[in-house]
Symmetry: C3
Subunit: 356 residues, 3 copies
Amino acid sequence: MLKYLLLALVPVSLGLHYLEGQPVLVFLTGAAAVAVLADWVRRGTEGLAAHAGPAIGGLLNVSFGSVAELILALFVLASGQVAVVQAQITGSILATTLLGLGLAMLVGGIGREKQEFNPANAGLLSTMLILLMVAMLLPAVFDLTERSTATPGDALITDEQLSLGIAAVLLLLYVANLVYTLVTHRDVFSREEEEGGEGPGWSVAKSLGIMVAGTALVAWEAEAVSDALSATAEQLGLSTVFLGVILLAVVGTAADLFAAVVFAKQDRMGLAFSICIGSAVQVALVLAPLLVIISWFLGHPMNLVFHSPLDLFAIAGAAFIVRAVAGDGRSTWFEGLLLVGVYVMLGLAFFFLGPA
Amino acid sequence: MLKYLLLALVPVSLGLHYLEGQPVLVFLTGAAAVAVLADWVRRGTEGLAAHAGPAIGGLLNVSFGSVAELILALFVLASGQVAVVQAQITGSILATTLLGLGLAMLVGGIGREKQEFNPANAGLLSTMLILLMVAMLLPAVFDLTERSTATPGDALITDEQLSLGIAAVLLLLYVANLVYTLVTHRDVFSREEEEGGEGPGWSVAKSLGIMVAGTALVAWEAEAVSDALSATAEQLGLSTVFLGVILLAVVGTAADLFAAVVFAKQDRMGLAFSICIGSAVQVALVLAPLLVIISWFLGHPMNLVFHSPLDLFAIAGAAFIVRAVAGDGRSTWFEGLLLVGVYVMLGLAFFFLGPA
Amino acid sequence: MLKYLLLALVPVSLGLHYLEGQPVLVFLTGAAAVAVLADWVRRGTEGLAAHAGPAIGGLLNVSFGSVAELILALFVLASGQVAVVQAQITGSILATTLLGLGLAMLVGGIGREKQEFNPANAGLLSTMLILLMVAMLLPAVFDLTERSTATPGDALITDEQLSLGIAAVLLLLYVANLVYTLVTHRDVFSREEEEGGEGPGWSVAKSLGIMVAGTALVAWEAEAVSDALSATAEQLGLSTVFLGVILLAVVGTAADLFAAVVFAKQDRMGLAFSICIGSAVQVALVLAPLLVIISWFLGHPMNLVFHSPLDLFAIAGAAFIVRAVAGDGRSTWFEGLLLVGVYVMLGLAFFFLGPA
């Protein structure tokens, strides 16, 4: 039921947008509507994937799994707010790895001595976190090194070239990861604990229709949200970076966070872990590279150079603390609280940065 | 016997102070006297705690465990030497995690193939090290990020606000840690190997009297030491930062270092590990936040922005090398030597920095 | 047979050098000849070591194991190209830890579910990687800290003093490591899987002769290579740093890379791991300190201050990703691919830096 009711957010937010309502309301309802629509597009994709074989199905899920976030990011990008998109990428990684996993471990761990999850999966995903940390920090370090020798113009060009090269490597590694977990090491990673299983049971036509309609609506909402962004930030006395890194990111990953906490409460910690860390890996290994490549074709190139030391530190800190907490395949409520604590400290830092 | 003899340091150092003796002698005897008195205050606290229940007792131990260091730091702070206090915090963490644990593993490991300790405890404490690394580095990264946009005056205010926020989060996490190790997961962390047990067996009055007298004497000594600090540095041709980060820190943690080595020699490595890393965690999670909050009330605010890259690198390096060495719950003499080696390299770096 | 044929590279490269052939050809054939000769010197050393006891033999192997790289580096240093030598040190570490180990895991892992190797050894070597990371980054952090207070002249002197101090500590730790793995913990690290065993079975005279002749030829080639370096870089449109960090390093470690892949293919992953990570540790703990000390005696001092953030980041990134991948003593093809992927990304960054 809830999932139909939530669709009401779509007309409400678009109505507010065209009636020129409060930007804050447009922003919040629009961002929530994007999250709701993203869930429908994902369900449509699963419906379609169920009609294909596992390989094509996996590819479909990957390609369209982040399509809503991608569209939202492209609209924000087109309005020239590169820093907000980068903040959203950072924010998604922080929200899933620290807040989502932390809350799941905290809620799931209360009343239990510990919760265990597949150590092979925990090891792989926390290794991927270190990889994505290297990949996300490298362009900034490159830019810093280069600035001492190159002219600014040349620097911009090589920044872009390096970002494109890294994006290509990341996408290749992601495909290899699919081959690894779905083909050669299927047995090791087959989750006893499957989430729902084979999709919503829709026909091909219905699935396709929902995907197309949902994606179109996401684009419409994305325009409204990115229009309202600056005015919202000003009205709330917050920086647009804070909006991107905390508000947009939490709204955008709310469905994942909620699912992770529910599964953890049911003592299915392995699934909660896969959702949270898998989502962060998806953002860094698929969404960010696609944004780099698509934005380059669109003539609005976004590179991967995160200029804010705070962004870089937050990503590295998240990778290290998650590895420390989860590397052993066990969790307790206190470990969850540590993750939430780190999230709160980073959130405070982004908050006090103030309107830039 | 020794513990009574060492009390002679108190009149000696105070005498030298008021007779205007060599600052170097005042500094060294005063610092040693603070360490001796700190041990007496700790014993008084344990005596009092033994009369309370475990929860109140634990709280007492936490509140007064670092009271001597806290007082010393506040006096140094009041004399305007913020960098020395920050150096002392860094130095305490390095001395316990690298020098103390390293010597314990080295001495304990000679003649033994390996020494083992509770992996649950090793895992928790080395995770806490990563947490404290994030918390200690965050304000500096924030300050760096902010400086590109904010005016210096605004930057100082937000630095202070962020430090207060982080201090509050750290104190909350520390309380949660007590609940975790003393209440919900008592069995996992109950040390078969208890240190002494239920305190010195003093009456409430005697315990209280020793606590109060000891604390007052610490304050007196602290004044003498902080007065002698600059002159000592000048006479020895060293920087005050080196004095804080190496000399004050080693003197201040000497009792812990000594105890850790003795326990390791007796093959009670788990206890040695808890003393060393527990002490570092206590400094970062209790002492540093309290200093931020109390100094703010006193109108001499100290924030957590460590301006020296060397301090930040040393803390991060210590956290990573300790995790690498101790994460598996086993140690050998060579691993101990590696820790000592890193301490020596960092000490050389602080030495060569010279008088700033 | 091949090993005799490859010797033809020596006359070819020297001929090209004196006939003033294309610098690119001189550089490539010369670098390859150094690698071939290094292998002969190593074999001579093993031949001599087989006639000594294990302790003296071990010492011999350590002292002469890197003699070819050392000579090449000293010639490049004498021609004033400090940055190239530092790049070669970085490059050797990256080539063995990321490319070599990555290819070995990738090739060895295809068709196998996983490969296992001695976890004691994996743990020790990956801890050493963290140690060398701290040691290699410390001088740069020191330099950065110092520059805010000291005059440039003083800074250079203390940089040099600190580098000498760190070099001494590293050499001591390396000797202790030999005592640890060859004496006190021999049983833990005795490899069931020995590489060849007791050397080539040569007489003392033959071994000595080959060592001396090989070393002399290396010196001759080294002169040719370092002469051709700048012209080669210019002709290929690459920076000398890129030549050092990628080309020279891959050529210099080619024998190790090849051996590691062959052993991994035979499912002797432990040996492949020891070769790759052991080689990186040898570079950081023996070669780099010796270069600092010898270059100081020669009056062309090289310190350990790596000025390029990219070098520092690459070393740290390599240490963390190798620990994440190999810390558990197991490997799969995908983990190998992750290492290769990180190497490619870092290589792209060094490539796009362009001629400085």
